[in-house]
Structures are given as C-alpha cells and as structure tokens.
Symmetry: C2
Subunit: 279 residues, 2 copies
Amino acid sequence: MKSQAEKADYFRSLHKEGPILILPNAWDVPSARSFENSGFPAIATTSAGLMVSLGYPDGESIEKKEMLIAVRRIARAISLPLSADIVAGFGRTADDVVQSVREVIDAGAIGVNIEDLDHSTGKLYPLERQLDIIRKVKAMGESIGVPVVINARTDALRHFGGDERAKFEEALHRALAFRDAEADCVYPMGLTEYSAISNFVKILDFPINVMIRKGLPLISILSSLGVRRVSFGPAAMYAAMGLLKKIGREVLDAGTYDSLLENAISFEELNALALPRKS
Amino acid sequence: MKSQAEKADYFRSLHKEGPILILPNAWDVPSARSFENSGFPAIATTSAGLMVSLGYPDGESIEKKEMLIAVRRIARAISLPLSADIVAGFGRTADDVVQSVREVIDAGAIGVNIEDLDHSTGKLYPLERQLDIIRKVKAMGESIGVPVVINARTDALRHFGGDERAKFEEALHRALAFRDAEADCVYPMGLTEYSAISNFVKILDFPINVMIRKGLPLISILSSLGVRRVSFGPAAMYAAMGLLKKIGREVLDAGTYDSLLENAISFEELNALALPRKS
C-alpha cells in the first residue's frame, strides 16, 4: 500500500507523461471499486453523484461533514489514488477552502477539483480568490507532506457574462492564471467541441481536463490534441440511473427481466466490491 | 402525504388484492426515487445493495446505526411505502429483533423482511425464535399505531441440512408456521423453479414472495400460479454494477463512450432524484 505522498506523486505524474489519463468518477464504494477492478489508474469522485446518492442535489447543500464521510468510505475501500470533487470548496474565504482541502486529504484523498462558481449567486468568484486558494493549498500540502494534486476548474464558459467569445476568453484568461499559479491541471467546464479544445490546448500548453459527454471527440482524438485528462463527471451515474429507468419500464410494461439480468454481476462479485481488491 | 399507518395498510392490501405486487429493491436515495418515478406502488431496500454501497459486505457487519441512517435517507426522499430488509434482525433474542424493527419504523419504513439465517454460524435459527419475533413485532406495531407488514423469510432451501426434499419440506414447514403466526407474506429464499413455486403456493395458500433471478418464470406466469409478490432483491444493483464493468471495459479498450451515453439521464433528472417527486 502506497503512502498518500506516493499516491499524490504518482497521480501528478499521470498528467505529465504516458497515455492520456482516463479518470472515472465514482459516487460510492462499489462504483469506485468497480472502476478499480477495471484497471483505471486512479479514481475521482463526482460531486453530483455522491451528493444525490445521499439525498442532496448537487452544489453545497450537503453538509461538509457528510461529504467527508463519503470520501473517507471510498478512500479506505480502494488502493488507487483518489481525487475529491469539493465543488467550490465549502467556504467563502480562501482559508476556509484550504481547510476543506485539508479535511478531504485527512479523509484519504490526494487530489481535489476546485471550481470558481459561487453556488449561492450563480456568478464566478473573483480570480484572485481562486489563485489565493491554489497557492495556499500548495503550501498546506507541503506542510503536511502530501503534495496535493490540484485540478483548477473554471465555469467561465457557462457562467461568465457576454457572448461565446467573451466566455471563451475569460475561461482562457483564468486557465492561464491557474497554470501560472502552479495548479496541476486546468478544467474548463463545458469545453467539448473539437476546435475549441484544440485552440485551448494550443494556447495554454498545459494539462487540461475535459469531461465525457455527448459530442466529445473520442479519446484517441483528445490525446492527439494534447488533452492530458478526460474524466467521466457524473456520466456513469447518469448511465446507471438510466438503466434503472429502463428496468422499471420493462418490468412494469412487459413483465420481463431482460434488462435486469443482462450484464449483471453475481452476488459474490457485488460483495467483493465492499472489500479491498485482491491483488 | 399518507401517514405511516396508512402506508402500512396500503402496502398490506397490495399482498391481498389487485395485480401481483412487483417490488423493486433500492440501495440509496436515487435508486429508490427512480423506482418511484417508474410507477411502482412501493419500494423495498436490498440489504446487500445498501450495505455494499456503504462499504460493508452483506450480512450484519454494518453497524445497525449506519443501516438505520441509510433507511431514513431513503424513507424521507420517497412518498411510497418503504419496506426495509433487516437481514436476521441485528440481534440474538426476539426482543433485540423487535427493537430493531421499532428502529426502522422510526426511520420511516412500514414493513420489514426478517430472515431465519444466523449469519454468525451459517445455520437456521430455531423456528420458535422466528415465531416469537413475528408475534412480538405485531404487538409492537399495534402499540405504536403502525401495523408493520412482515415478510417472513426462510433460508431453509439453502441452509437446512439434508437433501433437496428435506430442504423443501423444512421451508414449507416454516412457511406454514409463519403464516399461522400471522406474518403478512412468506419468503422462501431460493424458490425459483416453476413446479416448486406451484407446489409451494398450492400447499401454503398464502401470499409468497419470490425474487427475480435467471430462470424465474415471467411475471404473468407467477401471477397465474398465485404468487402475490415478486421482488428484485439485489438484481438492479447487480445490473447497475454490471453496466459499470461494461463501461470500464469499453472506455479502456476501445476509447469510446457508447455504454456511458446510452439510456443516460440528464443532470436535471439526476438532481431531481435527490428531491421529493413532483406530483
């Protein structure tokens, strides 16, 4: 079992060298363990998936304490590096957010997603706040000996004022600043179209994260464009819940069980997802 | 919103009249809410699914308190009747088990599954203990004004000593005793084959629960045999985890996302699964 520092170093290295990092986002123990079994090199949490699974809509309506318990459950079940999505950081000031990062590291994570959207107003936080967070998280990580991997997310493509061009320019402006503040990866939420991704990577010349959704280029193409990290976001949860909807329809309308039995794992396999992976 | 007593009465009535009760088993808030949206008349929990989702193998290795919190989360998110699978009751004595039932009712459930397998030994509990539990749960329900619906499960078909015939006879013997102790439904775990189901129902002449698995007759046939309740057990969780396995294989091997996007629900639909259903 690697130490948290070793996991952080390994996770950081996946952004810099080797094949593009494909990062599945889990919401509970068995989803994380399933992805671990599949052979992904690291796991992230999906904030939407994790929160909805506990009965809270996405955002910061869940209490931080309950989010931390869920992160800890996942972290102790897997041996892979775990990156936690902490939304905008569960706090107003940079110091509050650094405290939240400290707490998810204590819960077993070694990386974080931090976004710049203020969920209480629907507007972006000032860039300076986000840069302050990045710098302070790095210093905190050094002080506790866990070099926290920071995926700095901007929601400018969706939430900045103005037309598409203004949004793109603000996203790029923020991304360049995140890069220069020494984040490890930049996550321009909503960047999905081929030429936009291509332009973004060319100008930034730094690891970016894109999220799987309909219309996203295939992984081989993303890789050729220089994208370093592609994450599931809540996509696997959307798919799993879509399957339940399909099952409900089939069982109630047709009285058959095909979609319940197709691809199903066994009781033994399910139970094994509660326990550490056998190496 | 119906009271717990009204929900219990309604849930009980589904065992006696109208179409066969198709009961989906959920393990967290969104799985329960998805089934509610599909139009099922009631929801049950799957002990295996619920426990594994929190990082515990099936059985009673989860602390009762944590199980109760999970049941409460589900109960407060749905308006349908909720039946909780409490395994063998989280206690050695009948009074311990009655206390556990009381606690899941306090958490919002109106029915329970109680099995007769002692997970610590892998053997069946004495029948008298189970009958004592049924009688005492009924008395407790009357005392608090919630007529708890009892699905009395026997694991004799799998865990009683002897050959197939001895197992079948013990399951039937226990089922008849559960019926006469005024359980609401009897659940002979492992009863899946057409003629065995047919014989069991004919002799028992009482509502029985069968679980969906490969080889189970279709719902229309179960209904014609006189089965009153067919539950998912952990099947939907097996299917959802099977889908994650398929997704992992596809993304890592082919670099495509088809199984992630097929049937997927939207972000808005996912978020809505954390909130009460709009009527």
